[in-house]
């Protein structure tokens, strides 16, 4: 019997990691990479390996843990999303120079589109920057296969390798063959050798030329020995067009050509975009008059080609330089290049229907019952004139409540609050500032910013929205929770209040997020303290994430149409999917499809029109 299962791309990659004998894996969650690490733990348990699988507090932490494990000869892996590698860039660039011992695989999930990220940067460029090999899978099946070759290559050349799946590989679902685990039986053995493990400048003079040599040796292998990832799908007739394609773009373009029945287009698939097998690519180009390059999202293959005269790519505007290469876009490019009639765009009748029916795309919103909504409401009602720098997490959706004024990256709520304070201080002015950050993001990169703000005496309020979960990415644990990744494996909980005090903050208080009246008076008190003492005050809003489905009071509510004056205050400032405005009656009403009966909105309506209908304990 075939041992096939339908797996998420990320589960397939994780299966490959365990089958390949990886014994230490670490990550920080981030879409579209989040499912990989939990799946590594699951497969390791299924297959009975002793793989140690742990969340790091951030990507730099996770990367360094995995790197050091490979120093002992173990196979290890670090997993993150594309912007996570920005955080881990420092050790990544260093370790590229090392003569590693155990295979070290870096899995970086890119997000062309982007769907869930602040950039759509191309991590293959990072591989090029660090001069290390990179695999770019076209499907989940190929991604799993590449894991084995990446480890093999890593160990034969003693260099870190990157697997760069895009979101359409991470979150594709495909039938995947399962195999047994390779038993490496390799005990951890760290051999002291400062020349090898200490990144002294003097060593770089030796290591950098060695890295260059490794890269060229690997390029030569990619030219000749990796035909399962780098191959040509020849045209049956004389080719009018040659397409060089990588990643999911290869999968899309071959499906389109098959649907067309095209027999005069050949495709060169590149699965190893760096170092690029240049001879292979130049040979392909030389045999075609017209060449198109499809890759996401930056021109990584394109820029490594010495002569681009025949190439239609991003350098000459044939391929869009931003956004995901969706099937419709690739079809349009092919039609343009081949002089075919373009397929019909979004049909007018459907556009008209959507307009007539008043249909717009639904924006993401905080879940019904989400404690962040109540916290934001309390802050906004207390300090309406404040500037609200915020952070990366579910609570970025507080933008719908006018509560998110500036977001950069993980941890920047606090440092932006500092920067804003400094700018107004330069004018001698006092400006209320309330920064918001989640519990997981605080442990990720909030601590250095907070220590810096205490040290420099910056006056602002920091609201830590503690829902006891890394929620946006699907509900992972973190140091502030204590539970580890594997069920039943307990770690030690890092006390959030203690960590804040440890950074030197004097005013630290905690409030129940649902309790709007207490929260409001504490927000006021916090700002008074920060303002008068010229230092940050930290207010922790606490209530578990709705994803945890913890028991709480069930309070069904209704809107009294007599009392509702149609002012939309609740819609604009509370913004709950369960609370909707009826344009015909000009009244708010409860949409039962979404309401979770948290009862918080009762305290939101200034006219007392939202009422509890009955109360019960669930």
């Amino acid at each position: 019997m075939s041992n096939k299962q339908i797996l998420l791309g990320n589960e397939a990659i994780a299966r490959g990691v365990v089958e390949a004998g990886c014994e230490v894996a670490a990550a920080y969650p981030g879409t579209p990479s989040s499912e990989i690490l939990p799946a590594i733990a699951k497969w390791a348990d299924d297959l009975g390996t002793r793989t140690v699988v742990e969340w790091g507090a951030n990507e730099k932490v996770a990367f360094e843990m995995a790197a050091a494990a490979s120093f002992t000869g173990k196979r290890s892996c670090a997993v993150m999303k594309q912007v996570g590698l920005n955080v881990a860039a420092d050790p990544f660039m260093s370790v590229a120079h090392f003569k590693l011992k155990g295979g070290f695989l870096l899995i970086v999930a890119d997000d062309p589109g982007p769907h869930s990220s602040q950039t759509e940067q191309d991590s293959r460029f990072f591989a090029m920057f660090a001069k290390i090999p990179c695999f770019d899978p076209a499907t989940a099946v190929e991604a799993k296969e590449m894991v084995f070759d990446a480890y093999d290559l890593s160990e034969r050349h003693n260099v870190i390798t990157m697997l760069r799946p895009g979101v359409r590989v991470d979150h594709c679902r495909q039938d995947v063959e399962l195999k047994d685990v390779i038993d490496l039986s390799r005990p951890a053995s760290f051999e002291k050798d400062p020349n090898r493990w200490v990144c002294l400048p003097a060593r770089v003079k030796v290591n950098h030329p060695q890295l260059n040599e490794k890269r060229e040796a690997i390029r030569e292998e990619f030219e000749t020995k990796f035909s399962k990832y780098n191959y040509e799908v020849p045209a049956r007739k004389k080719a009018r067009l040659g397409i060089i394609a990588a990643g999911v773009s290869f999968s899309i373009v071959t499906d389109i050509l098959r649907a067309w029945g095209a027999d005069d287009v050949s495709v060169l698939k590149i699965g190893t975009p760096h170092p690029l097998p240049i001879r292979m690519v130049e040979d392909f180009i030389s045999r075609h008059d017209n060449v198109v390059i499809l890759e996401e999202t930056y021109p990584v293959i394109e820029m490594q080609i010495p002569d681009r005269t025949k190439v239609k790519g991003r350098w000459n505007g044939w391929i869009p330089s931003a956004g995901e290469l969706l099937p419709e876009i690739i079809e349009e490019i092919l039609c343009k290049v081949l002089g075919k009639a373009a397929p019909e765009g979004a049909p007018d009748d459907l556009r008209k229907a959507a307009e007539e029916l008043n249909i717009t795309p639904r924006r993401p919103m905080l879940c019904p019952g989400c404690p962040h909504r109540a916290s934001f409401f309390s802050i906004r009602q207390t300090l309406p004139k404040a500037i609200y720098p915020s952070d990366i997490g579910c609570y970025t959706l507080g933008v719908n409540q006018g509560m998110v004024d500036a977001v950069l990256d993980m941890g920047a709520s606090i440092t932006q609050a500092s920067g804003l304070y400094m700018a107004y201080k330069a004018d001698g002015k006092e400006q209320p500032i309330v920064a918001s950050i989640g519990d997981s993001t605080f442990f990720h990169m909030g601590l250095p910013g907070l220590a810096s703000a205490v040290y420099n005496k910056h006056a602002f309020v920091l609201a830590i929205l503690d829902n006891s979960l890394t929620a946006m990415t699907g509900g992972q644990s973190h140091p502030g929770i204590g539970d580890k990744l594997r069920k039943g494996e307990t770690g030690r909980k890092v006390d959030l209040e203690g960590a804040v005090r440890g950074c030197g903050v004097n005013w630290v208080k905690t409030t129940a997020a649902y309790d709007i009246s207490t929260s409001r008076s504490l927000v006021k008190e916090a700002w008074e303290y920060a303002r008068t003492h010229e230092e940050p005050a930290v207010l922790i809003f606490r209530h578990p994430c709705m994803l945890l489905r913890q028991k709480q009071a069930v309070i069904p509510v209704t809107v009294d149409p007599e009392k509702c004056i149609g002012c939309k205050f609740c819609i604009n400032f509370f913004n709950c999917p369960g609370l909707v405005f009826d344009e015909k009656t000009k009244k708010a009403y409860i949409d039962e499809r979404f309401c979770v009966k948290c009862g918080v909105c009762i305290n939101v309506c200034p006219h007392g029109a939202i009422l509890a209908t009955e109360g019960e304990e669930a």
């Binding site: 359409r168 979150h171 495909q174 099937p327 009748d349 639904r362």
Partner: protein, 184 residues
């Protein structure tokens, strides 16, 4: 067979493609599809692609879906362009008047696409205490009831029994049958 499944984040649409995948795999067919995770799952518009057969790409191209499964009628209208000529839309409906929209009916009839509506919210409210999370299997039942999608009600029930957590199997079966009766 190419399916596009649309809805609102939090409605549990990912389970529907798992059921379809389970059925295809049991018949020895190849499957590939694409899901949405992350921020869009927080109440925004979500779309899931699912293909059974010899495909490489996880995405369905506009004008190529055999079936559009919509958990929400507004999302159905926004994504109807995925339907191929002669394709079928199975739509969970809360305000049935939308189906009368002249622009929509014109577009559907010109390409001989069929619309099958099912009042899933009403059914779940009346029969299952308003547990709307069962929409994801109700809509599969509705697809079978309409006689489209290339799978039988028996196959759906078998797959749901295999995939649903033990304590919810009976509820899932009930919801599948509700949907089936709704469009039969």
């Amino acid at each position: 067979m190419q399916y596009v499944i649309v809805g609102i984040g939090g409605q549990g649409i990912l389970f529907s493609s798992r059921v379809l995948g389970h059925i295809a795999l049991s018949k020895g067919e190849r499957v590939i599809g694409s899901e949405v995770h992350g921020m869009a799952q927080r109440g925004g518009s979500v779309i899931s692609h699912f293909k059974v057969g010899d495909y490489n790409s996880p995405l369905v191209k506009a004008n190529e879906a055999d079936v559009l499964l919509a958990f929400d009628q507004n999302e159905a209208v926004r994504n109807m362009h995925f339907l191929k000529p002669g394709g079928h839309a199975v739509v969970n409906t809360h305000a049935p008047a939308f189906a009368e929209n002249p622009s929509l009916t014109k577009w559907m009839s010109e390409r001989e696409a069929r619309l099958h509506t099912v009042m899933g919210y009403d059914m779940l409210k009346k029969e299952m205490g308003g547990r709307f999370l069962f929409l994801n299997v109700l809509i599969l039942g509705a697809m079978c009831g309409a006689g489209v999608g290339g799978v039988t009600i028996e196959e759906v029930l078998e797959a749901v029994r295999a995939l649903a957590p033990a304590k919810f199997v009976e509820d899932n079966v009930k919801a599948v049958n509700l949907g089936y009766e709704g469009t039969k």
